[in-house]
Amino acid sequence: MTTELVVVTLIKTAIVVFGLLTGFAYLTLFERKVQARLQQRPGPNRVGPFGLLQPAADGLKLFFKSSSAPSGRDRFLYLLAPTISVIAALASFAIIPVSGPGDVNLFGHHIGWYIMNVNIGVLWYLAVTSVGVFGIFLAGYSSNSKYSMLGALRSSAQMISYEMALGLSLVPVFILAGSLRLVDIVNAQRTWWFIVPLLPAFFLYLIAGIAETNRAPFDLPEAETELVAGYHTEYSGMRFALFFMAEYINMIIVSSIATIVFLGGWWGPFGILPGPWWFLLKVVALLYVYVWLRATLPRMRYDRLMALGWKSLLPLSLAMMMVTAVVYVAAQGRA
């Protein structure tokens, strides 16, 4: 039994890692294509049909680039930082059930649509993404460069402040679902997706999620115009690509969590498509919103960003949480 569990988990992990890395590669292309269309450009279309081999070309280029590194760096931390970022990003996908409700029956084994179905569920995601901050901060700290340091400071401050709103905006969902387990949360949305009763929480989560992944309009840590490239200024070649990988995988994960928690995960309205396809469709739709926002909004000023996080999003998510709790208890009391 334990051997089976280990083997199955390893296989699933390999599939998830492979899927996420492919997803990352094609997300870069997706972003460039969508943004290009919004700016009336064709986007990458030279490498392969519709530019479909562009990610491979980019990857090859990055592999063969010489990696230059600053002389005064902290060697160990300098190498550790991108690794932490990527591992944290990949690890948070472990809890995400891509389909359901039951297990699949493969060769007589019951296999779940997730790597692990832990009872702390979303907390795992919140905890592991917080570890990702270390990657960013250590990158800035070990680079021995003022731009990296400033970028890292901003980034950690931003991620830590927005994590509060991110976590709190998920609490109403826990109240309604009565569980932290993502499978239970999705099952609770069979009739009504949580976006219907919890629309404000969804938007709070989306805003906090964008800030959490350092994406435009909250991309201050890597604000090109002022900080060169922020915390990864001194990284090049594949090490730089690792940070990019972490950022894009985090985008996928934030979208996946939003899909599961607010958009009903694998449940589709008419049961026309099988579960995984619904999941994929919703995640891609959210990623489109990400890119769309980037193509639309200018970068925020740093103090405004902090003010938005602490003075608006945090109180609003607290209020949302309390209102949900009161309404839920009142409704239970009547029933």
Binding site: Q40, W292, T296
Partner: protein, 170 residues
């Protein structure tokens, strides 16, 4: 004021998102360059063309006025006598050697104005790129108008600048 901003803010964002989204319906303005090219204005000054008369004789008589008029001195003309057996131009002499350093040329069109026979004009080609400075020295064959295609097709002045190595460095 702050309340109003807080209430209107999301509305502005939605409006901005709608504005960008509208661009999805508008045509792509990029011209896929090497395959599709924009028409060049009729009097554009690109790579030079040496013209011929209808009977195939070259218009250039090797007078070197273009070389004298050229403000950067990028033209070299070496003239030779026409003989009854070897007649290249209707005049007394013709250009045995006619070279333009396209890297030094500033495409001002003074050579065109100086030419008494309209033998040299600025052509439409502007995409002059190559990987070695020597390849930018256009020799006579690179610039000469083709004879009618049925007679002789080898002197077509299209494609990349000449790949012929030229001994003289400018």
């Amino acid at each position: 004021m702050a309340l109003r901003e807080a209430l209107m803010g999301p509305l502005y964002i939605v409006r901005a998102l709608y504005t960008t989204f509208k661009h999805n319906t508008q045509p792509i303005v990029t011209i896929e360059y090497p395959e599709k090219q924009k028409a060049v204005p009729p009097r554009a000054r690109g790579k030079h063309i040496l013209h011929r008369y209808a009977d195939g004789l070259e218009k250039c008589v090797g007078c070197e006025l273009c070389a004298i008029a050229c403000p950067v001195g990028c033209i070299v003309v070496e003239a030779a006598e026409n003989t009854p057996e070897h007649r290249v131009s209707p005049g007394e002499r013709y250009a045995k050697r006619y070279e333009i350093n396209l890297l030094r040329c500033i495409y001002c069109g003074m050579c065109e104005e100086a030419c008494p026979y309209d033998a040299i004009t600025m052509g439409p080609r502007y995409d002059l790129a190559d990987d070695h400075p020597d390849k930018f020295i256009a020799v006579k064959e690179d610039m000469l108008e083709p004879l009618s295609a049925s007679v002789n097709d080898t002197a077509v002045p299209s494609g990349a600048p000449s790949a012929q190595p030229v001994a003289r460095k400018w």
